[in-house]
Symmetry: C2
Subunit: 804 residues, 2 copies
């Protein structure tokens, strides 16, 4: 057997050398391909061995009952969970009379790579069968950005030394057996055999299978077709049964002779469309893909990605790991959202079943800020999905005795699926997060039609929610009591600063949008009295402050709680939620993830710089980062406060979350928010991008070690390029009208074709804030130059012990 | 068919005339017999029809999994639920060839009664069979106070008009079929066939069945034996099978001739004892009972109750309904606790499966105050049960990252069985409630041995808990954050006044007890430094106060929350918990049950009279009494504040909770705490009894309409009799040393044999506080004189609409 897998540090690709059979799940997530519509985990072509087989179609889910030891009014009774659908990736190979299985025989070499400019997973294997026959397998796989129903595989086999008889079985398999669930509440509950066969047919090189889910009644059509090239001895046959279809090709190959196959896979699914309609849809997609052909699909892929990188690439000089990680991140964020098209972007994209395939607030708060600047159409589509769920959100509000709309904490289809209300229903901030994403999208793109047809109604319904959720106290302050903020180690608290500030923005944004579209607002029942009451609530929004400590409490009373006993918490007791009861966590000062810090990131206008510095230091000492959503926000605020080295550390932690499997659950899928967070840490952190004001603003500053940072942003149809070095920042707009921005508070006018160079002011020298003992940011071994290997993550279960 | 059931207002009994087949469950609870060890619902002898068949043995339960939609650390995974055990009540009767079933033929008359001085359920039926045969059945049933393993039935049948052949089948039945569960979360989850047969035997007039529960592995032996008297034609046989045993007697009776049967039923159960041991235990109990005979058992019963009433009777002149209700209540509280003997007193006693048969804080907070003064040995035994569960409570504390002991919120066997932690685990006050019950028992009885061997350790372990649960803030205040007080419409709040005041008392009581038993305390690891830290925490206990409103917030910040929109809450939306989410309830000012008011009751020393009056009025306007635990405390504080008429209304509501089925769930069992509450409302309310100080104190005052109140209390071995009229209170101690007490703040010395008469001061005139619209206390039609009928409860689902 060859060495364990290692990943090379390359600026434009992820490359794996060797294979770690005990850690296949992680590599399957890292090498997952998706276009937001279809997602294929990076399973080996031959199916076995696997960490977790995974083929996902956006929104295809099954229902499952949500049980409660003690029931309560308004508890959701039905959950939704993503299912592993019909798998078209499987290509089994028989060499002479032995199956190609890397666990047997001798695996001479095994290489996998995705070049982010290509969007194709390439694999090269040299294997000696137990009987001594050497073969080379080369395969390529893509999920098409240009033809969203299509995935395709190019597969090539060549004997070495001796002639060989090979049999290729290209399969389509439904209801695959899945490994047993491993008990982590953050993972998914796998459902067995979620699909019921409705139709199967094999004909020539084509197979089609149609299934329907048992309870959610979603119909899924999957079809495959093939092209073969090989010696004259090549023979092809096909067959099907309810849960499987197979096209078999066989040939005797002389050494150096190759058998080549292209496999086209098409999917169609719907809650409503009939069996014949879906069958025809998949068949039609196949015809188009065959006509395009493999080289055509590859070329379209490259073209799509070229356009993306042209506008979105982030260049980082001085930290090759971060350079690789941010491109890896942008690639996966694009994959998650590019063609999701009015369906949700789940927390794990379509890379794995983690969190049951649900979308959370992560989507609007982390992923959409990136997509808004780099793939704005994808951002708009994701918000259109939320818009499509407004009727369900209105029903939920009604059930909860509230006005407007209450969007779910976690869902696939739009219904609330959270089975624990203190961390679900009570986390109302998701509604402001959605409204904030709407407002950002409209501000940055200037898409007035979107605002009028989609955004306005979301803003209005969420503003109505906040107005009914809060109330004025006797002093006239507008309070929002008993809610849960972003930090999941607190719950059901009064006047969470993040929630109140985001609600404030929501109320004002809704009133402003209603003023821009008074006729449409009137149709929605909003007049000047209504908007006045929103503005009043926003103006009087209560933001608690602790004058003794000189900091903002995360929620009212928070700073009076007992500080967690960090000194007596052992490294293996993290994440705390697996070792301490919520009761204990909620009542103490201990923070899972940025909450007040996130408030300072999103609503920086509500804090003075002094407050930011004091608050940041205070919350640093309490934050354990048991959530992958935290490091990027800490990076942003650290950078703003001038703690540039600390910001760099957090950037690296966010960026390397999945590449280093820091939370030991990358195998369940990639953390989309943390991936987006690496962009956020760079662009909002070291670029200092803020977009809450009249014009977008920058406050770039690089930490020691980073010599250059360049990034592109789509702003109102223009491509703004920002290039930051140690001493200067250069702003460039290639074409379009001139634009105005702020650079460290100074107004800058950027005329197309005339780059503006601005000085970067010096960084104040501040003491580095302390983190809880043992929870300092990870400091990975930084490797010089490119061509190194992705460093170690530290001993299992103790990710924080290295070089701290 | 005869008229619906009606209940007569009699001072010493509950009497039913007629039968309401649609409401059998309620009558089965009202006529339940128990000695705290065995409980028999008042099912008809012949088994059918029934509301809910029920035979309970204290602590006999089955385990069931507690499921969670989203799991969490420390969530109990196994629940306990009371089971319906082998039923020995069933006596089927065949008259000629027709079964005696009141649903068929013609029920001429049906009377049932329990005289509280006798403790025997008597039933008289005259029935005409469908074929026209008239019979009279007279039966009597008891659960023996003197022989705690024994229940017995006297059964007599007599034909009227024509001779009849009768067959009596006296049965012992396991795994009876139960009606389907009706979905109310406050009810129980019935388990099907919880018992597995281990042995069955029939011999002569005797049958024995031994079963074991499947998962909890509790072995239950049940046996019955019989005596018959009848004409010479009498023939008797017996048989058994795994889940049933039967003794059959048959005779031809001439008109006026009777067939008489006495049935003795014995139970034995254990988690540990072997099958032969338990079998023999039940058989031995049967032998003793047969030797005593039916008249003997009846006489012993009367003797036991005579002694009880002599010390415990409460006389109320002027409100015959309350007179009846308080004796009904005392009788059932005695039944629940008298022979429980180191097992729990469940919230429903042994009268029904409601709340899964669990014991809650109700036991210590409502039932034990009554038993401490009326049946102190029973109170001691109930606390010994808690003591026996200390090892489990220490384990639970450890799991929760706390010191000392954490007693469960709900349990049968001692393990936490609450599946919803915000209203379970977080309700830490249960620990102070237990400690308070210990301290009261020791103060009132002077039982030093109990304190040394049982009480001290409970006080110490609960004090340790509070010391670790709270912390000092920067101002040196001792805070207890994130807990849930008694009011279940609030949760997870900081510095709940009730909790903090009760914890304060707990800490001081533990320190005082340790000072009295320094050697024993030292063995338990408690030295002067430890007790000093308890006294320090108690001294600096933070009691929040709202200076603007001039009231104590129930918990910190409570008075700043939005007031519930009572005006727009419809009568059918109560109880609120069935129509609104916890999220909504928790964050608003709406109160299910006395919380701050209970704090003023139990810790009256911590409030000035002005504060009490202001607080009481404030919380009256917020309290909806969706809990049966509330009215009695409101009665007590209303009386203290001088709202005597309001106190009378609340007294009546507490006292008539089950007799009028106010919460529509009496069928699941009687509300022991509310029953105890009728005594509390009278004795602590109009008697003004308080026992937190150096000596017990009284502040008697009667409302208009009550002309006399007299009650007896056991205080340090003496019987103190208090007799209150409009203008005077007379204190009498028949024997023993003199005692000192307070009467309206004046010290009174009562010498045995010399009644002391004290003047009752006039009541200040205050405005009657307002309740939420539609939630005023029930004002039942008050009927003049005795001999009336128990009044209506108002239209179903709208208990508050009458005469409000």
């Amino acid at each position: 057997m060859i060495d364990k897998a290692s990943y090379l540090i390359e600026s434009w690709s992820i490359q794996e050398s060797g294979l770690d059979i005990s850690d296949l799940g992680r590599s399957e997530s890292l090498f997952a391909l998706s276009n937001g519509h279809i997602g294929l985990r990076g399973n080996l072509d031959e199916g076995d061995p696997h960490g977790l087989p995974g083929t996902y179609l956006n929104s295809v889910h099954e229902l499952r009952p949500l049980p409660y030891a003690e029931a309560g009014y308004g508890y959701p009774e039905s959950g939704q969970t993503v299912i592993n659908v019909t798998n078209g990736k499987v290509i089994r190979l028989l060499v002479d009379d032995e199956p190609f299985d890397i666990r047997y025989g001798d695996l001479r070499s095994h290489q996998r790579a995705i070049d982010f400019r290509e969007g194709v997973l390439r694999r090269d294997v040299e294997w000696v069968s137990p009987a001594g026959q050497t073969i080379r397998v080369h395969s390529e796989r893509l999920v098409s950005f240009s033809q969203r129903s299509i995935a395709a595989v190019y597969y090539e086999i060549e004997p070495v030394g001796d002639p060989a008889r090979v049999v290729i079985q290209s399969e389509l398999v439904a209801n695959e057996q899945l490994p047993a669930w491993h008990g982590d509440p953050r993972a998914a509950s796998a459902l067995e055999s979620p699909l019921r066969s409705e139709r199967h047919r094999a004909s020539g090189t084509m197979v089609e299978l149609v299934h329907i889910t048992h309870r959610s009644e979603i119909r899924v059509a999957a079809a495959m077709d093939h092209e073969f090239a090989g010696p004259d001895s090549l023979g092809v046959s096909s067959e099907s049964e309810p849960d499987a279809g197979r096209v078999t090709a066989t040939a005797v190959l002389a050494p150096g002779e190759k058998l080549r196959m292209v496999k086209f896979i098409a999917y169609g699914w719907s809650e409503q469309r009939s069996l014949p309609a879906l069958r025809d849809q998949a068949a039609a997609a196949l015809v188009a893909a065959r006509q395009t052909g493999w080289p055509g699909l590859v070329a379209e892929q490259r073209q799509y990605l070229d356009a993306f990188w042209k506008r979105a690439d982030v260049e980082v000089d001085g930290d090759p790991e971060v350079q690789q990680a941010v491109r890896f991140a942008l690639f996966h964020v694009l994959q998650a959202g590019s063609r999701a098209e009015r369906r949700a972007i789940p927390a794990k994209g379509l890379t794995g079943p983690g969190y049951d395939g649900h979308a959370f607030w992560d989507s609007e708060s982390y992923v959409l800020p990136v997509l808004t600047y780099t793939a704005p159409d994808a951002a708009a589509d994701a918000l259109r999905w939320r818009y499509a769920t407004l009727p369900l959100a209105r029903e939920r509000a009604d059930l909860l005795n509230l006005k407007g709309a209450v969007f779910p904490w976690r869902t696939i289809h739009g219904e609330e699926c959270s089975g624990y209300w203190p961390a679900g229903t009570a986390a109302f901030h998701v509604n402001a997060d959605i409204a904030d994403a709407v407002a950002r999208y409209v501000t940055i793109t200037g898409d007035e039609r979107f605002e009028r047809t989609v955004g306005l109604e979301i803003l209005i319904e969420t503003a109505r929610l906040w107005r009914s959720l809060g109330h004025h106290d006797l002093d006239g302050r507008f309070r929002i009591d008993g809610v849960t903020g972003p930090d999941e180690y607190s719950a059901i608290a009064d006047n969470n600063v993040y929630t109140n500030l985001m609600a404030q923005r929501n109320l004002v944004a809704a009133a402003d949008a209603a003023r821009r579209h008074p006729d449409r607002a009137a149709e929605l029942g909003v007049d000047a009295e209504v908007t006045a009451s929103w503005r009043d609530a926003a103006e009087n929004m209560f933001i608690p402050y602790d004058p003794h400590l000189g900091v903002h409490p995360q929620s009212e009373g928070f700073t009076e709680h007992q500080v967690w006993d960090f000194a007596n918490t052992a490294p293996e007791q993290y994440p705390l939620l697996l070792h301490f009861p919520y009761f204990d966590l909620y009542r103490k000062q201990v923070i899972k993830q940025a909450d007040l810090v996130l408030a300072m990131q999103r609503r920086g206008d509500a804090f003075t710089m002094d407050e930011k510095i004091r608050n940041f230091a205070y919350y640093e000492a309490l934050t354990v980062r048991d959530s992958s959503l935290s490091a990027c926000s800490q990076a942003v605020l650290a950078a703003e406060c001038g703690h540039l080295s600390l910001a760099h550390d957090y950037l690296r932690e966010a960026a390397l979350m999945d590449l280093h499997d820091i939370e030991h659950n990358t195998g369940d899928g990639l953390h989309m928010a943390s991936l987006a967070g690496s962009w956020i840490a760079l662009v909002e952190g070291f670029g200092g991008l803020r977009d809450g004001g009249e014009v977008i603003s920058f406050a770039p500053r690089l930490p020691e070690g980073l010599t250059r940072l360049a990034f592109g942003l789509c702003v109102r149809g223009r491509h703004l390029r920002v290039e930051v070095s140690d001493s200067t920042a250069v702003y460039t707009v290639p074409a379009g009208p001139a634009m105005t921005l702020l650079h460290h508070g100074k107004t800058v006018r950027v005329v197309p074709g005339q780059p503006v160079s601005m000085e970067v002011p010096p960084t104040p020298v501040l003491e580095r804030p302390k983190q809880p003992s043992g929870r300092e940011p990870l400091r990975f071994l930084r490797l010089p130059g490119t061509g190194g290997r992705i460093g170690p993550t530290g001993p299992s279960g103790s990710v924080n012990s290295i070089d701290g």
